[in-house]
């Protein structure tokens, strides 16, 4: 997807309607904090860690 300028993982999650308390995010293959800035071309993986059962 296309991302805005000066964005971060936290802002991306907000945009996707995902609560940061429920996921672990990695950027370009390494786990990163939500304050990490993002640039066009970065690969972001969002792992949903909250599950029932």
């Amino acid at each position: 997807m296309k991302i805005k300028k000066d964005t971060t993982i936290a802002l991306l999650l907000d945009e996707l309607g995902i609560n940061r308390e429920t996921v672990v995010v990695s950027k370009n293959g390494s786990v990163a904090i939500e304050e990490e800035p993002l640039e066009q071309g970065d690969t972001v993986d969002i792992i949903k860690i909250i599950s029932g059962g």
Binding site: S30, V31, G53
Partner: protein, 301 residues
């Protein structure tokens, strides 16, 4: 951005304390805090035989792995196969693999063999059936093995959800039962070493240290608990630390809850286990589920 303790790249921003951690320092912090929870509360004593309820999910694998680093305790992993097709096979595979690699004894007990029924056969009330029967099965096995304690992977989120649910339902007896397991020689005491760890931290620890399958149980859908979970997570996102605040508030209340009159326990006429009603929940659910299955069978025949 850097880790607060070294030059490493941060993997976690603990917003409720304003600290950033790299992979190694996060792992160190996490393990230290779990051990501190165990030591401060005297949950586990030297030489004890500890059962660990292992599902193969992030919580129980994390729990077992940290307990395995403690000296002077004997560990027995017990996994329950509730009979949930397409879901439990995967997590049991993780459980088996983990125990093999760490040389921890693992026993798998199934609903089918013990009760003759699987969760898949129950249809609508899967979760309450599943929870009640699993609890009984684990307790029975822990008693047979002569274990001192039964450890479960409940994390801070599980605790705060249970607290809120019981507040909202106005159920002081259940609220009290969250913190002290029923006093009876029929129950192996339960301990929850991860109760001070937010689910996000447990998830992160598991992502960093193990190869976990994060898929969700098909029955975990939209229950009341899911609504409470989302509500608390929204509060936490906007007010970091609120989960601890819910738990601390609850802990301040428990001494007063202890004076709440609890129902006298009787023996279930069918299985002999303690119950506050006529027939215990396990026997009640088994009866109605088997009736439901037979009805369906008869209709088909």
């Amino acid at each position: 951005m850097r880790c607060d303790n070294c030059d490493g790249a941060p993997v976690y921003n603990r917003r409720y304390s304003g600290q950033k951690f790299c992979h190694d320092h996060f792992t160190e912090y996490f393990e230290r805090k779990v051990k501190k929870t165990i030591n401060d509360s005297g949950m586990i004593k030297r030489g004890e035989r500890i059962g660990v309820a292992l599902s193969g999910g992030k919580d129980s694998i994390t729990l077992l792995s940290i307990l395995n680093k403690m000296e002077d305790i004997e560990l027995f992993a017990i996994a329950v196969d509730e009979g949930i097709k397409g879901y439990r096979e995967k997590s049991l595979h993780v459980a088996k693999k983990f125990c093999k690699e760490t040389d921890i004894s693992l026993e798998i007990i199934s609903f089918k063999n013990s009760f003759g029924v699987t969760v898949d056969e129950t249809k609508d009330h899967a979760c309450s059936f599943c929870g009640v029967l699993r609890r009984r099965l684990l307790n029975d096995r822990a008693k047979e093995l002569g274990l001192d304690k039964l450890a479960t992977g409940h994390n801070l989120d599980d605790e705060t959800q249970a607290i809120m649910i019981n507040y909202i339902r106005g159920d002081p007896e259940r609220l009290l039962r969250l913190s002290n397991s029923t006093h009876s020689d029929k129950f192996v005491p339960r301990i929850k070493p991860l109760q001070e760890m937010p689910e996000k931290e447990v998830g992160l620890y598991a992502v960093l240290n193990f190869n976990i399958d994060f898929s969700e149980c098909p029955y975990a859908g939209d229950s009341f608990r899911t609504g409470i979970r989302d509500f608390i997570n929204t509060l936490e996102r906007d007010n970091p630390g609120i989960k601890f605040s819910i738990k601390r508030g609850y802990e301040k209340l428990t001494p007063y809850l202890e004076s709440y009159p609890t129902k006298e326990l009787k023996e279930c006429p069918l299985c002999g286990e303690p119950t506050s009603g006529e027939v215990c929940k396990v026997c009640d659910m088994l009866q109605s589920t088997k009736m439901f299955i037979n009805d369906n069978k008869n209709r088909r025949e």
